[in-house]
């Protein structure tokens, strides 16, 4: 996807100015509520007309105030997954799913409905009425409906907000699977750093109606290390859970981790705060921490008065947060070996 947006619009007291160019396929739009994220989405979809500027997607001008171009939403082929799904209440799941599909020329239909219905696990729901669906089912139908219209870009406006925690992270694998399998570029709007980390690669950062920088999601997460209330979170995907002395043992690449959290079938992802990792110069003989990993320092970065240490643990990446004084005592430098101690209770389940 190659998207360039240079627009400004005023709605009442609210003013939005955006001047960005993005090229990735997994773009996040990040910012607090009311910062203009949704307004940008409406402008991209053609549902709101900016006061001035230009929007060009993959060489096609969608809006140009000087040339008086404003492509109507139905001609843009930009799909939107709304926060509140907006499934048509008077139609069955099947009719909802095929609403967009029926409206595009056969030559533009890139998605095979059967395959998508299978990926999203919607087969049993087709004849149901939408009012009887659960939150997660509704969101899957909404996603399917948008994808079946073979959009050139999908905008997702806080699609996970409003779903309960468990459901939220159950949907994410579906989202990723669909987007990967059908190669659809996406813009993901959210105020949740964790959702952003799971869904996107690059992020447009909004504040007070302005957007002018595009960061990698990793940079954004690290930048928030000193200011964010949760520090930097390592997202650790583990598998092969086995019970062990009342605890659970997981495989993390070539490493073995011991956690208090019981394993589940399917995916297991945990969040590990960078400040919950303690570094030792040499292997301590014994420790209360159940995980002692020998790692190599691959880099450092400074944020405020903290130091982020990038570690390589037998091929897996970890970021640990310490203070510069500790770094001096540990002789932290590139290539140096250290031992990371992590308590079994430090891991918090994502899904």
């Amino acid at each position: 996807m190659n998207l360039s947006v240079a627009i400004s619009m005023t709605r009442g007291a609210f003013n939005l100015t955006a001047d960005v160019r993005v090229t990735g396929n997994r773009i996040g739009v990040f910012g607090p509520s009311g910062s203009g994220k949704s307004t940008l989405m409406l402008a991209l979809a053609g549902l709101e007309r900016p006061d001035s500027g230009r929007i060009v997607l993959d060489g096609r001008t969608l809006f140009d105030s000087e040339k008086k171009i404003h492509v109507p939403p139905e001609k843009r082929r930009i799909g939107v997954v709304f926060q509140h799904t907006h499934l048509f209440p008077h139609m069955s799941v099947k009719r909802n799913l095929f609403y967009g599909y029926r409206r595009i020329p056969a030559a533009d239909r890139k998605i095979v409905p059967g395959a998508l219905i299978e990926v999203l696990g919607l087969g049993d729901l087709l004849d149901r009425n939408v009012s009887g669906l659960s939150g997660g089912e509704r969101q899957r139908v909404a996603l399917g409906r948008t994808v079946l219209a073979s959009p050139r870009l999908i905008l997702m406006d806080e699609p996970l907000t409003g779903l309960d925690r468990d459901l939220k992270y159950q949907i994410i694998p579906y989202l990723k699977k669909v987007l990967d399998e059908f190669c659809i570029p996406m813009m993901f709007i959210s105020h949740s750093m964790k959702e952003m980390r799971l869904m996107t690669e690059e992020v447009l950062v909004f504040s007070k109606g302005r957007v002018d920088e595009c960061l990698s999601i990793e940079d954004l997460a690290r930048r928030n290390m000193a200011t964010g209330d949760r520090s930097y979170a390592n997202l650790i995907s583990v598998n092969d859970p086995k019970p062990r002395n009342g605890l659970w043992q997981y495989a993390w690449g070539k490493n073995t981790l011991v956690l208090t959290e019981p394993g589940r079938t399917g995916g297991n992802m945990f969040e590990l705060s960078a400040k919950d990792i303690m570094l030792f110069k040499r292997h301590p003989e014994a420790s209360s921490a159940r995980n002692l990993l020998t790692c190599t320092v691959t880099g450092t970065f400074v944020v405020g008065n903290r130091l982020g240490v990038e570690l390589d643990c037998s091929g897996e990446k970890l970021v640990c947060q310490i203070v510069p004084e500790a770094a001096g005592e540990l002789d932290i430098e590139h290539g140096k070996q250290v031992v990371a101690a992590i308590k079994a209770t430090a891991f918090e389940r994502v899904f």
């Binding site: 979809a45 109507p72 139905e74 930009i78 939107v80 907006h86 967009g100 009012s131």
Partner: protein
């Protein structure tokens, strides 16, 4: 037949014909006007709203008289109608026109209330899925205002069945041509010994109106059922 005289039967059939015609003509128009009021913003909107709603508050006789001034042979549109060969005054057309004008605000009001409850994001969703404006109107707005449309149409139908004031001024009270149930009842009450016939027609009126209510309730229920099983 002892129960209803041939003239009464004619009046009942005329009433039903006028009410059905008026309702069917008004329904698409009422839907369009309600759409304009709910979704569009333009200068002079409140004036237009006032004009449409005026028959609701004006005495029907006044409405009839104004229509006579506009549509009569000497009226503002008289020469135009004459050239087209259309005669409104003292014909069935006049009765229909009177019913349309008087019942229209009720119809629009009802549809509008239903339409206002439709979340605009449904329309937005339809547009981003490739439906043009017209398409979204027929596949989203119309079905979602179905109940309100049925309610409005039954109100309009009932109002047309009972229309008296505007009809008598514009269409007159000609048995077999423009004499509907209310006009017929009016005639009977002015005739010595006509009370029994008046009573019978009143009964027919009650039955008809009750029937309309039942049909409207039933269709509203089935529309609702289609949405939430």
């Amino acid at each position: 037949m002892t129960f209803l005289s041939p003239q009464d039967i004619q009046a009942v059939l005329l009433s039903v014909r006028v009410a059905v015609t008026a309702t069917l003509i008004s329904a698409p128009l009422g839907f369009a006007v309600a759409y304009v009021f709910v979704y569009l913003r333009f200068p002079g909107k409140s004036v237009l709203e006032g004009v449409i709603n005026l028959p609701l508050v004006l005495p029907p006789v006044v409405v009839g008289y104004l229509l006579l001034i506009i549509l009569g042979r000497q009226g503002i549109l008289g020469p135009l109608l004459e050239r087209l060969g259309i005669q409104v005054v003292f014909t069935l057309k006049g009765a229909v026109v009177a019913s349309v004008v008087v019942g229209f605000p009720l119809l629009v009001r009802s549809i509008r209330i239903g339409m206002e409850t439709i979340d605009r994001d449904y329309i937005r969703a339809a547009r981003t899925l490739g439906a043009g404006w017209f398409d979204s109107l027929f596949t989203v707005v119309l079905p979602l205002s179905g109940r309100a449309l049925v309610a409005g149409m039954s109100l309009m139908f009932a109002r047309s069945l009972g229309e008296f004031g505007a009809t008598i001024v514009l269409a007159g009270n000609i048995p077999g041509v423009t004499q509907t149930i209310p006009l017929s009842i009016y005639d009977y009450t002015n005739t010595p010994g006509g009370d029994r016939n008046a009573m019978v027609l009143c009964l027919v009126s009650v039955v008809l109106s009750f029937g309309v209510l039942m049909v409207s309730e039933a269709s509203a229920r089935s529309l609702k059922k289609g949405r939430n099983p």
